[in-house]
Symmetry: C2
Subunit: 257 residues, 2 copies
DNA sequence: CCGCAAATGTTCGCATTGCGCACACTCGTG
DNA sequence: CACGAGTGTGCGCAATGCGAACATTTGCGG
């Protein structure tokens, strides 16, 4: 999948409208016209027209002074999840796996330098990170990210690594490009990836790829644990085989679509 | 919150662009220009410009023939959840409650005639319905919907009931407007709502309102169970008090913001 | 309380941006 | 291979969206 864009085929009004929609966040849940104008760099008149359009469409509401998002905006986001098909198919398998291993199970896809969660079965076990559908984490330091990166071809992987900003998230994090490349090549041949406290102290996980009918990696599924609770040995010996079997089951269901 | 809209202040291009974005779904995960033109009623030239703009913005990708949504679209949806603040605050309380009662706990808000899930703690208990953030259910036949409707003023409730299409989802469903109004008034005075197999056979739940500082109902929180597992007596006697206490705790945290 | 300046919200003339018609290209069938 | 149907695209033009300027509101100081 590549990107295409030409100036004459670019609808500035749509772009500006989406900029307005994305200006709302946790720090600015409600905004006046002038707030929005400052936040987006658009003139007040333009911000007003776009906000009033979003109000008319039901994505934003107003008391006549401030504007806020409505729950209808969630429908925009969930068009992606519903168009993906994977979450519905994978959910029952992931729930069964989580039942057996008593840990959280997640599925994600690769988006740029990040993984994006598209399905999740959570346990109420203490975990440092709170994750939900739509959550993003850096691909390079997550088990699912390693599996997804292993599914890229060499050109794509080179491009990814060229643009990667090495970050030391924990003392265990890989911070050398060559080491990371070697690790991803190892994941490619073994068919799964472990992360041991590279993303966050105390967090340990294992991931497997989900392939489509043509053998391309389209998503990853993982089991996330806490290092104080599950040893690497248990992760490798007990959980990994179950995870790999679950991934194969999901794939065969996907192949029927 | 009310809606405002004037023709001169309506940006047709933004509206059309969002129509294109919403045309993707489970039945049409990938579309050609011509598919999109048919799905939206826009000319092929217009559909092309809008799709190419969405590609340039990263919300849609293309192989040169078909167009598909990218995970970036999820960010649009999650602007709402992150701007709401409630999910982050409520999640730990909901997890603790779910741990104690061993059932699913959810929070939702009212959007038109539906509730929309904004937070959820799931157990791997057998439930007929698969729910996630963004999921929608009819307000009139859900415990959280009843609680949210009880928080409307009389004019708002009249408007809601006037527009409601009575539906018999199960043999237990309320199908008479007067009965439903009486039930909502009862919920208003008692401060919680039960649903007993009105939404789906076998599903039983209890919900409590979450109020803001001014006492307005801004969301609802509930415990969902299976009728085969939890009697009404248990729901009322054991789970409801815990739920009400949890709602109060969440409210006092919200009041600090 | 009043005056004034700053900030915010809105109208409308106009030109630029987005539109769709018509052409170019591709695909499928006889 | 020819032809018709279907699909994708370029470009002239006017409709749509723009922002300058005006109207209204707010906040501060005397």
């Amino acid at each position: 999948m590549s990107s295409v864009g030409l100036e004459r085929d670019y609808v500035q009004s749509l772009s500006r409208g989406l900029t307005v929609l994305q200006a709302f966040n946790a720090d600015r849940p409600a905004m006046t016209l002038a707030d929005m104008s400052r936040a987006t760099g658009l003139t007040r008149a333009t911000a007003r027209r776009l906000l009033l359009t979003l109000v008319a469409l039901g994505f934003v509401c107003t008391d006549g002074r401030t504007f806020e998002l409505t729950p209808r905006v969630l429908d925009l986001g969930f068009a992606y999840v519903s168009s993906l098909q994977l979450p519905d198919i994978a959910q029952p398998f992931m729930e069964a796996l989580s039942d057996r291993v008593h840990e959280s199970v997640s599925a994600s896809v690769l988006d740029g330098a990040e993984i994006v969660y598209v399905a999740r079965v959570n346990t109420q076990r203490i975990m440092g990170i709170s994750l939900a559908i739509g959550s993003r984490l850096p691909a390079a330091w997550t088990s699912m990210g390693r599996v997804l990166l292993a599914g890229l071809n060499d050109d794509q992987l080179d491009t990814f690594l060229d643009g990667l900003v090495m970050t030391e998230l924990t003392s265990q994090s890989i911070t050398d490009v060559a080491v990371l490349r070697t690790e991803i090549h190892a994941v490619r041949s073994q068919g799964y990836a472990f992360i041991d406290q590279e993303l966050e102290e105390g967090i340990r996980s294992v991931a497997a790829p989900l392939h489509d009918r043509r053998g391309r990696t389209l998503a990853a599924v993982n089991v996330g644990t806490h290092a104080a609770r599950v040893t690497l040995k248990e992760l490798r010996g007990t959980i990994l085989p179950d995870l790999l079997a679950t991934a194969r089951n999901i794939e065969s269901q996907l192949a029927k679509r």
